[in-house]
Symmetry: C2
Subunit: 216 residues, 2 copies
DNA sequence: TGGTTTACAAACGTGAATGTATGTAACAGC
DNA sequence: GCTGTTACATACATTCACGTTTGTAAACCA
């Protein structure tokens, strides 16, 4: 019984959703395509029609969340008139907060950090991941090196060290919270968790964001 | 051809070493006991004699590094006459530095962070891991709350937030460096990476460790 | 409206990994 | 020196997941 194009797309997302759930519960390599198909209400035939194999399915799943994330990061390099250090801080805080608000993001990051092994078959996914991370670090490092920022860094903090420590904190908080969502409350605590670090990075880091200067 | 007791122990460590190497290369669930056995120069019979199954083998492998780690952490709660904040800082720096010095530790942590999925069969391992992490966080939180420390924390930094952010940084640096050992040099950079954070945590964090007061 | 292609379902063949059961030679104790 | 046990090797049975192939009804198009 052939479906219409919309129905086909519907089963595609059903497969993706089922995979997401099962990967989260049982781990990527312990989840079989048969289980995914059954959970999506189809057979393995449908899975193999929409995706080449499990690795491609996994890749497609990650794309749902990586693409918007990359856009968000690129926005930093533009960074209009406002303080780029505050923009960076807001980006970090927002990233943690969004974990609590966006259930799909939470699931997918939990899978990425705790439920998959980066081995040969996922090597390509790992590479793209590494590229994104390196771009982020390079961007932050370059941001810290800007004339308006560099002189605001604490003594002894180089752009290189600052970028790497900040990314470490970001990744660590992602890892910790996805492992145990009870460890802290993203909405309430994210700002404080990063402000600790920014106070170590930036001289005279304000305790609270000062009001924006009135735009004439 | 039965072996003597020492020889038997020798094959046991050979199996553990082979598993360590293969888990690192191919991921835990993508490594078969047959491959481990061949790499160790034995057959699956030997593996099943020494270990109940792959999960128990994995568990035994982790014990090689977790047990000394737990001792190290517990030493913090004692924390003799010296400044407990500096002791904590040294513990963190030393943890990162030891990654570069101890190859086995580096391999096992890489496996833990990037080459295994915490699923049903490793649930027990995951639990013990979580217990250790929670103990570490609780210990740091309690340390920050001590009379001699609490008043040295920066305004707005609670023991709760301080402990969680510090652990986040620690985990993130582990994760980042095991993913890409070229990202920074543990020996050269570990101190700077943590000092950024400690400056955000503690008031008047010294740029360099001042000489210890002369012991009378 | 008839042929073509789509979107799957069902069936097939295959290799591989697991756990267990059995065999066996040598060590360790008496 | 005999025996029970150890430290494995070998053989076996079973299950399971994968990839491919074939079948098919319905949608899409001319």
């Amino acid at each position: 019984m052939r479906r219409t194009k919309e129905q086909a797309e519907q089963t595609r997302v059903a497969i993706l959703a089922a995979a997401e759930q099962l990967f989260l519960e049982k781990g990527v390599s312990h989840t079989t395509l048969e289980q995914i198909a059954r959970a999506a209400g189809v057979t393995r035939g449908a899975v193999y029609w929409h995706f080449q194999n499990k690795a491609h399915l996994f890749h497609a799943m990650l794309d749902q969340v990586r693409l918007p994330l990359e856009q968000l990061t690129e926005r930093l390099s533009g960074c209009g008139g406002e303080d780029p250090l505050w923009a960076l801080r807001d980006l970090c805080v927002g990233a943690i907060e969004s974990l609590a608000q966006d259930d799909q993001k939470r699931r997918i990051f939990t899978i990425l950090l705790h439920r998959c092994e980066f081995t040969d078959e996922l090597r390509e996914t790992e590479q793209r991941n590494a590229v994104f991370i390196n771009q982020f670090i390079a961007l932050v490092e370059q941001l810290f090196g800007r004339p308006g920022c560099l002189d605001r860094l604490q003594d002894g903090v180089t752009p290189r060290i600052g970028a790497r420590s900040l990314h470490g904190l970001l990744v660590g908080l992602f890892t910790d919270w996805t492992r145990d969502p009870g460890l802290f409350d993203p909405i309430r605590d994210a700002a404080a968790l990063f402000d600790v670090h920014f106070r170590g990075l930036v001289r005279d880091w304000p305790r609270r964001r000062q009001a924006a200067p009135p735009t004439p």
